[in-house]
Symmetry: C2
Subunit: 266 residues, 2 copies
């Protein structure tokens, strides 16, 4: 019996098998709690050895996607148990054609609540190199926006790079790793919000404003600018922002984080 699933030759076999099975799980081919095919059945399906199949299954196990029991087989775990903060998992979700709407909303709500805070932290701790990364990203967005928008994917890539640069600007290991982990997830949200070209100029302007606030070491202004970006994203996604968040938040950081102006340091 020949393999019924095509497998490339130059990529690690275990990773391809993990990706294929992960896609099947997202598509509903196997329901949570259901028993997946045995190792030997997968050996026949993919036409590889049992060692490679086990490698792929170990990858899925370490991500909390499946659970394995001696004598019982491999069972699919509930989506809530998936290690959603793993780049491979978020990449899987980003590649999938129909990501769960709940997931997109969860990611957006997290970013909506966290990124203003992250921006204010970046305004306090960002160094020159971080500003370079942000500037490169914004210029890339501008270039793609000027090219009549045929390269929408490139605009998204620069958009994501900008947000990652802000995360890194906090100079905190946790926030920085979170950016690395969330990169595919952020791409998922940004891509869906950059489908209309009318708002691209507005998005570009708001990103510039955030960069400028970070450059001027203005935490309150950065908080406000990041919130405006997320509000624009909310409109493009068709999501209501959390209620009660409309009023001016710029005053809040001025009160809590001290004066955001540069002369604070003097």
């Amino acid at each position: 019996m020949e393999p019924t699933v095509t497998i490339s030759k130059d990529l690690p076999l275990g990773d391809q098998i993990a990706a294929s099975l992960g896609h099947d799980l997202l598509s509903g081919r196997y329901q949570p709690g259901e028993v997946l095919p045995t190792e030997m059945e997968l050996v026949e399906r993919f036409g590889v050895s049992r060692a490679s199949v086990r490698s792929g299954l170990q990858t899925l196990t370490s991500r909390g996607i499946v659970e394995r029991f001696v004598g019982m087989g491999t069972v699919a775990r509930d989506f809530r148990d998936w290690n959603i903060l793993d780049p491979m998992v978020t990449g899987l979700l980003a590649d999938h054609a129909n990501p769960h709407p709940d997931l997109v909303r969860s990611i957006f709500e997290f970013r909506y609540s966290a990124e203003p805070l992250i921006a204010s932290l970046a305004a306090r701790h960002a160094r020159a190199r971080d500003l370079v990364a942000m500037e490169d990203a914004v210029e890339g967005m501008a270039r793609c926006g000027a090219m009549l928008g045929t390269e929408e994917a490139d605009f998204t890539a620069h958009d994501v790079s900008f947000h990652v640069a802000v995360y890194r600007g906090t100079h905190n290991a946790i926030w920085t790793h979170l950016a690395h982990i969330l990169r595919p997830a952020i791409t998922l949200v940004v891509r869906r919000s950059n489908e209309r070209t009318e708002e691209l100029r507005e998005a570009l302007a708001r990103h510039r404003a955030l960069m400028e606030a970070i450059r001027l070491r203005d935490p309150a202004g950065a908080f406000d600018a990041a919130l405006r970006i997320m509000q624009l994203t909310a409109v493009e996604l068709g999501i209501d922002p959390l209620q009660g968040e409309k009023s001016d938040v710029s005053a809040m950081l001025k009160a809590s984080f001290g004066a955001g102006s540069p002369e604070e340091e003097a």
Copy 2:
């Protein structure tokens, strides 16, 4: 040649090998960039088969701890590349006797900046079950505190459970998974801050205050209470809180998130 490292029999061999090598890496036995022993050398050291050794090395690879190249061997990656937001990695760090001070500080700074925000989100979205979890944790802390503090580890466990319950109270998938991922890391910080029994009563009181604010759906009060907890932790850790954060933050959330009192909903 007999194995030179003792390996238990009832736990997965790959996990034990990964833990042992991870400990060696943390201890400085192998420096970042250095080439680790070959698979066959590890087979002799641990007295297991090459399949088990490869399983352990794949675990380390998937966590960004090592990198493997055909023909070159296995090289230790820089600590910055470690997937620090993985429970196995944070558990490794928590078990290690001398965790890097930079790491403890990074985790604390993250919590100091994020947990007030998380607390305010929990005040908006927590449901009755989340309050039950918090109440159980606080009562557990009180029980252990009353027992003349012989069971310090239990107090820490309840303390960690409380913070995890707050994360879960946001009812957001990202924050919730972050709690699961950070649990060992939070334990690392909490354990070091609960070494003196004098402040335990004060810590208990501040945790009660946070729980009460969440119960009353008071985001601003929750933000403030969480900040007070982290400030107490800072004192116990001997870390200066971030400068410029001393003034009243309670007003800030009132301005940004709307009135925190329950009648807002009406």
